[in-house]
């Protein structure tokens, strides 16, 4: 692909720097736009968005019903929309069924509610084993489910993005949405973890 592939290897940082220089010089991207994109996903858009969605579903039965029926709209009502989350589906974990989300082919992930995917989500160990040995993968996260719990693995690989609604932990009756959201981890919204127990 590049002339220097067979020559002395160029560090990836140098390579990316060169790429940015060319794109900016040619007027295809603006440095300030790149900065704004980085800032958005480093500061504003992350798993706390999804945690708020989950906490709302835990305390508001109508919202929960809406979320499970039309996740895109229900999530948008809290202000979370856009890139890599245009078509959302919410999957509710129950004692009978546990949902685990993977993208075996790439890194499809619900950016508006979870932000950028963590490295493990994009890496071969998770992508290869989630569909073959989901219990083994869960064990890597320290999660053991009862043998009676059925595990459903959802391979995103395209435009639908999934948000797992973990089981609400016991002992949280009467908690506020804000407090509940603290118990909702990123991993629990992928299905790779459980909500924290207070």
């Amino acid at each position: 692909m590049r002339a220097d592939d067979s020559a002395q290897p160029v560090s990836i940082a140098t390579r990316v720097q060169a790429l940015e220089a060319v794109l900016v010089e040619k007027g295809y991207v603006q440095t300030a736009s790149l900065d704004a994109i980085v800032e958005t996903y480093e500061r504003d858009v992350g798993p706390r968005n999804g945690a708020r969605v989950v906490a709302r579903a835990w305390i508001d039965p109508n919202y929960r019903t809406w979320l499970l029926a039309d996740a895109t709209a229900a999530i948008a009502s809290l202000g979370y929309t856009g890139r890599q989350g245009e078509h959302m589906v919410a999957l509710e974990n129950t004692p009978d069924t546990h949902h685990l989300v993977v993208c075996t082919l790439c890194s499809c992930y619900p950016w508006p509610v979870l932000g950028l995917p963590p490295v493990w989500y994009k890496s071969p160990p998770y992508r290869s084993r989630a569909v073959l040995d989901p219990r083994g993968v869960l064990a890597d996260f320290g999660v053991t489910l009862p043998a009676t719990t059925r595990i459903e693995v959802h391979d995103s690989t395209a435009e639908i993005r999934y948000l797992v609604v973990p089981i609400r932990p016991p002992g949280t009756e009467g908690w506020t949405e804000q407090d509940l959201a603290q118990l909702v981890t990123r991993d629990s919204m992928i299905g790779a973890g459980l909500a924290l127990v207070p």
């Binding site: 692909m1 940082a13 010089e25 075996t104 493990w120 981890t185």
Partner: protein, 289 residues
């Protein structure tokens, strides 16, 4: 393509290593390449599926030994070169050797927030219901396309239930060009009726053709879709249609002659869909039982 990206079901990569949720990047160059991928996508010079294909086209050994943002970097470089926006020399030297091409869409800083919050929805209106409905019992096809596919190997030739709705497979520029050719070339029908094509399609090329018409505007009508699908099936071409939609995976291009020769040439395995139609992410790759 059956590339290294199709990881589902493989073994030997070791345990999954979790990381803290507030860890967003591991190096500054990762920030820049993420932002460049987003910003250049806004130029609308390629589609999301073309971008996927660019990453999946990496040699397997390189793919598996690259970090994900390295894969994004390589994919973006390939897309830019393929689109004619930059040259390999420019990437090597890290500077523009020629002025940039004027683009209709360049993401300005003030538009970033809105662009990210809007995204680009992939659903499209359809006049008719898709062939498959949710919970239909289906069998996936055993495709081995050389282009981008949403059907991983572990899920091919499997019986299951359709769970999701229909979605659009977005085409690369060159795939769109092929679609235009489909709309003018594919309608040269063999003189024999579709019913007799099974034997013929497997044995020898069609020598005579009857022009049955041109596709109306941007669309295939329902009859045409069904006819084309049958024709393709018989001719050893994998055709997938959800009634108002046509997708053609050319699996056996040597069996395609005349009518679909132009479409098939160089396209073995590519899953195509008409530009204006939708392709279900799973349903287009399944056959009803």
């Amino acid at each position: 393509v059956n590339g290294a990206q199709d990881l589902g079901g493989m073994m030997g990569f070791g345990p999954v290593r979790s990381e803290p949720e507030d860890l967003r990047f591991h190096a500054d160059w990762e920030r820049r390449v993420m932002a460049m991928v987003v910003a250049t996508g806004a130029t609308q010079r390629w589609t999301i599926d073309a971008a996927r294909h660019a990453r999946e086209s990496m040699p397997p050994g390189e793919y598996l030994t690259s970090s994900y943002y390295e894969i994004w970097t390589r994919g973006l470089e390939a897309l830019l070169v393929e689109a004619g926006l930059v040259t390999v020399e420019e990437l090597g030297q890290g500077r523009a050797l020629d002025p940039g091409e004027p683009l209709t869409h360049v993401l300005s800083p003030r538009d970033v927030a809105q662009a990210l919050a809007t995204g680009s929805p992939y659903d499209r209106p359809v006049a008719e219901p898709a062939r498959f409905t949710v919970d239909d019992r289906v069998r996936t096809r055993n495709l081995n396309p050389t282009g981008h596919t949403r059907l991983p190997r572990y899920a091919r030739d499997k019986v299951g239930c359709r769970r999701a709705g229909a979605w659009w497979l977005r085409l690369s520029g060159h795939q769109r060009a092929w679609c235009r050719r489909v709309s003018t070339v594919a309608l040269h029908s063999p003189v024999r009726s579709p019913r007799t094509l099974g034997r013929l399609g497997r044995s020898r090329p069609h020598r005579r053709h009857r022009r049955v018409g041109e596709l109306p505007g941007p669309g295939l009508n329902r009859f045409t879709c069904r006819w084309l699908e049958k024709w393709c099936d018989r001719a050893g071409v994998v055709a997938i249609s959800t009634v108002a939609e046509v997708a053609i995976g050319v699996r056996a291009s040597r069996r395609c002659r005349q009518g679909l020769t132009d479409v098939a040439a160089g396209l073995a395995g590519l899953v195509l869909i008409r530009d204006v139609s939708r392709l279900s992410e799973d349903a287009a790759q399944i056959a009803i039982l």
